[in-house]
C-alpha cells in the first residue's frame, strides 16, 4: 500500500471513529457546578486570595523576606543634604579689625594732627631713627600693617604670634606716625563665631572712608532734628 492510500485510509478511519457522548447526568452535574460557582462568586478578591490553602505560605515568605531585608541591611546611611549643612568654621582665619575701628583710628589721627603739630616733627625724627635701627623689621611690619588695614583679614597663626609679641613697638609707631595704618587687633580663635564674621567686608580707600563718615554724620544729624521736632510738637 503506497503513502497516498495509507493517507486516504487514515482519513476514512478518523471520520469513522466512534462518537463519544456525554454521560447521562451531564446536565444535572453542570447545573450543580453552576450553582456552586455562583456561591463562590460572591467572595471578594482578597478573600479568595487569602483562602488558607492558596497563597498564605507565599505571602508569609514574602513578608519575612521584606522584614529580613530591612533589618539586615547594613549599607543604609542617613544621607545629609549638603545644602543644609552649616559652613565649617575656619579657625585659621582671624579678623584683625572692623570698619568702625578704622574710622575711629582715623579720627584719632586727625585729632592728633590738629592738637600737636609741633610734636609731630620730633616724633618723625625718632621714627626715622628707629627705621635706621631696624629697617628690615619695620618694612616688613609696615607692609603687613598696610595689608591688614586694606584687607581687614589676615590669615595664618604665625601672624598672631608676631603681632602679639610686637604690640608695644607697633603702638609706639602708631602714636608717633599718623601715616601708619592702625595696629592690627589680635583676636584669639575662640573669640570668633559664625555670626561675627563679616563676609561682605571690603577694602576702602581713605576718601571712601571719609565719605562714609560724612554720610553717618548726616544721618545722625537728621535723626537729631527729627527727634527735636517730635519733642517740640508734643506738649
Amino acid at each position: 500500500m503506497n503513502d497516498e492510500n495509507i493517507n486516504r485510509k487514515i482519513l476514512e478511519d478518523l471520520k469513522n471513529l466512534p462518537k463519544v457522548e456525554a454521560p447521562k447526568n451531564f446536565e444535572t452535574e453542570l447545573l450543580r457546578k453552576i450553582n456552586s460557582s455562583d456561591k463562590t462568586k460572591g467572595k471578594s478578591f482578597w478573600e479568595n486570595l487569602l483562602t488558607p490553602p492558596k497563597l498564605v505560605p507565599a505571602a508569609v515568605a514574602l513578608a519575612s523576606a521584606i522584614i529580613i531585608f530591612f533589618v539586615v541591611d547594613g549599607n543604609s546611611e542617613v544621607m545629609e543634604d549638603p545644602l543644609n549643612i552649616a559652613p565649617r568654621l575656619r579657625e585659621d582665619i582671624l579678623i584683625t579689625e572692623t570698619m568702625d575701628d578704622v574710622i575711629l583710628q582715623n579720627e584719632i589721627e586727625e585729632l592728633n594732627k590738629r592738637s600737636k603739630p609741633e610734636q609731630k616733627s620730633s616724633r618723625q625724627e625718632s621714627v626715622k631713627e628707629n627705621f635706621k635701627d631696624k629697617p628690615a623689621e619695620i618694612e616688613k611690619r609696615d607692609t603687613e600693617n598696610m595689608l591688614g588695614s586694606n584687607r581687614g583679614i589676615i590669615s595664618g597663626e604665625s601672624y598672631i604670634e608676631e603681632t602679639t609679641v610686637d604690640t608695644n613697638q607697633s603702638d609706639e609707631v602708631q602714636r608717633t606716625e599718623g601715616n601708619f595704618a592702625p595696629a592690627p587687633v589680635s583676636v584669639s580663635p575662640q573669640e570668633i563665631n559664625k555670626n561675627s564674621l563679616n563676609f561682605m567686608q571690603r577694602s576702602l580707600s581713605t576718601q571712601e572712608k571719609q565719605e562714609v563718615q560724612q554720610l553717618k554724620m548726616k544721618t545722625t544729624i537728621k535723626k537729631d532734628t527729627e527727634n527735636q521736632q517730635k519733642a517740640d510738637k508734643t506738649p
Binding site: 493517507n7 471520520k15 471513529l17
Partner: protein
C-alpha cells in the same frame, strides 16, 4: 405564549439567553453542543473524566460570560474556542503532573476506555481495536497539529472555522493539518502495511 426554542438557531438562542437570561435557551445550547464538544475534547486529551470536566467548565464559562459573546461570530466557533483553550490548559497541566509524578515516570501513556455503555455493544471488535490504536497515535502527535487534525478530520469543520477557533491564518491551519496527518501516518504505517 411560550416560544419554541428548539426552532431557534444557536446564535438566536445565545442572544435570547443574553437579553432575558432565560435558562431554557441555555439548556438547549447545552443539549446541542455537549456531544460534539465531548468528542472533540476526548480525542484531544484521551481521558474521558477530564474531558467531561473540561466540557462542563466550558458551559460554565458560557453561562457566566454570556455577555462577552459578540453576535458577529458564530456561536459554534466561540464555544469551540473556549473548549479548545480549556483542553489545552488541561493537557499541559496533566503533562506537568505526569512529568513530576513518581508513579507515571518512565511509563508509556495510558489509554482509557470509553465508559459509555451504550457504545460498546455496537462497536465491532476490530474497529474498536483500531480506534484505540488511532487514539494512541493521535495523542503522540504534537498538540498544535493534533487540534487542527481533530477539528478538520473528526469534527469536520471548515478551514475558516478552524482558523477562527485557533485564531490563526487559514494557510497555517492547512500546514498544521498536513503536518499532523504526516505525523499520524508515520505512527500508523505498520497497521496499514498489508
Amino acid at each position: 405564549m411560550e416560544r419554541n426554542f428548539n426552532d431557534l438557531t444557536d446564535e438566536e438562542l445565545i442572544l435570547e439567553f443574553q437579553s432575558s437570561g432565560n435558562e431554557k435557551a441555555f439548556e438547549i445550547l447545552v443539549s446541542r453542543f455537549k456531544n460534539p464538544l465531548i468528542n472533540f475534547v476526548y480525542r484531544f486529551l484521551g481521558d474521558y473524566d477530564s474531558c467531561v470536566d473540561v466540557v462542563q467548565d466550558t458551559f460554565i464559562k458560557v453561562y457566566r460570560y454570556k455577555d462577552n459573546y459578540s453576535s458577529l461570530a458564530k456561536f459554534s466557533t466561540w464555544i469551540y474556542t473556549i473548549a479548545g483553550n480549556l483542553a489545552r490548559t488541561e493537557y499541559q497541566r496533566k503533562r506537568r503532573r505526569n512529568f513530576f509524578s513518581i508513579h507515571d515516570y518512565g511509563e508509556e501513556k495510558k489509554t482509557f476506555d470509553i465508559p459509555d455503555e451504550a457504545y460498546r455493544p455496537d462497536i465491532q471488535t476490530d474497529m474498536k481495536m483500531k480506534s484505540e490504536i488511532i487514539q494512541k497515535a493521535l495523542l503522540k502527535v504534537r498538540d498544535t497539529y493534533r487540534e487542527a487534525v481533530i477539528l478538520r478530520d473528526i469534527q469536520e469543520l471548515s478551514y475558516e472555522e478552524i482558523a477562527e477557533i485557533m485564531k490563526i491564518e487559514i494557510g497555517t491551519v492547512k500546514s498544521r493539518i498536513n503536518r499532523g496527518r504526516a505525523e499520524l501516518q508515520k505512527y500508523l504505517k505498520d497497521i496499514y502495511k498489508d
